[in-house]
Subunit: 304 residues, 2 copies
Amino acid sequence: MTYGVIGTGGIGGFYGGILAKSGCDVHFLFHSEYEAAMEHGLIVNSCWGDFTINPINAYNSTASMPKCDVVLVAIKTTAQNRLADMLKPILKPDSTVVLIQNGLNMEKNLAALLPESVAIAGGMAYICVSRIAPAVIHHQDLGELTIGMHRGSDEKARELCRQLKCGGVKVAEICSDLNAHRWKKLLWNIPYNGLTVILKSTTDRLMNNEASAKLIYDIMLEIIGAAKACGVEIPISIADNLVEMTRHMKPYKTSMRLDYDNKRPMEIEYMYSEPIKEADAHGFIMAKTQVLEQQLKFIQNGYL
Amino acid sequence: MTYGVIGTGGIGGFYGGILAKSGCDVHFLFHSEYEAAMEHGLIVNSCWGDFTINPINAYNSTASMPKCDVVLVAIKTTAQNRLADMLKPILKPDSTVVLIQNGLNMEKNLAALLPESVAIAGGMAYICVSRIAPAVIHHQDLGELTIGMHRGSDEKARELCRQLKCGGVKVAEICSDLNAHRWKKLLWNIPYNGLTVILKSTTDRLMNNEASAKLIYDIMLEIIGAAKACGVEIPISIADNLVEMTRHMKPYKTSMRLDYDNKRPMEIEYMYSEPIKEADAHGFIMAKTQVLEQQLKFIQNGYL
């Protein structure tokens, strides 16, 4: 199988790197970091053991890449409107595209733009990983990957999971309900990403303050209500567990906070606006999440 | 009639200054600015014409003040828990206390601590005024004062209004429904005060951004809903008018933003928590206002 990685940042570099390290044929798309990748390869500093992919199959455009059986998409959703065009040169009629991204409805929106025969999946990565220098990534903690099919056969996705496990990922599995997992991931992403930016804070400071800890929990309850309206039951115990986990996590800047710090666009559309719209369409108003959405848009407007 | 002013900042200095200027017997309580007041009097730079009260009846404790027929209270509500004790030395059995403050339920809470014979009123000041140096205040715009009785006769409050009008205040009047006016004032105060602090902004920038302008309007609609649950009908046209007025106002730092900039406590309790509790007691959840409340508490915790 031929693998493609679209967006070799923290997530794409990590999972693609694991595949390449264990001998798979992996082709990486870089953007501004293409030169660095050609020079020193892809350097992965990982709490599971450091490794480097050098030489690396690096590209700066999908036009020059081979066609791929499985494509891992790990670009920010802020570039989602260009994704279908980027993918077209590397897709076979029966390729599987896995969107390892945060938010809601990315799969549905992409599906409308690609041939019916292309399988589309979503990937939920539970991992602390970030790009710390050009083509250098730092894997700090965790690493679990859950994949859910949006459409098509899960055959290639199963093979992907098998290869990742060979490469050392302890949990890489297929789930039966993508939508439920997307909402569960939002349960963490919506409060922590937004509030670390709006309140210029980190996860530990948010948890150590009574007011922000309560706000985070209240937002989680709202998300549970929205998910329920959309047909997804999330037990409150999952919110309790997430809060407890975050309380004991090392101080962490969320991906949105890193985007903000580096004056990059933030993933407001897929992480906030889409869930709000989806809940609204099912008769549930996400009043608190709307506040974060509008505050984030104001903040982004100030630097973009 | 003898007038007392408790808290000679922008609001207290302005209305007390107008009374003194027109010949009333006014006694001003200062805190840290007592020395400056004794030295150069109270200086009022006003868009209606500058004036100075010098010499001034200035005090640094209510223990040394004479008993007053009418007391204007213009301290921040953050000091509300000390107010009843501060007032006791200057109250006659039939005094009238007018709380020219922002928020909800200040009158009710104070009433429980003062003798039944003392009349208690609330004052809603529609004015842009701020303290710019010790015992120097700057009156930038507007000046309307509306007074509503919480309990007791409105006789002294009427006399106060008459004197203020003699002194040049175009509109100073008694209203029949204090609670309705308190909620109407919150309609502006809740969104603009909170968001200028949380988003580190000014009124003009909030109005010039589509997302924050929508957020402000959405919060206003929530407040209208809360007021309705509490028995107060506010037509949506009032929200429209406030938004339009603010859009055409000179760039303005709200009082909460000034408190934040000067690392003073913010009026979160009476401006956010009390309305939230009151609405909740009437079965209405102020979900968006709760977000602002908790964000403000987090921010305040960072500097107090």
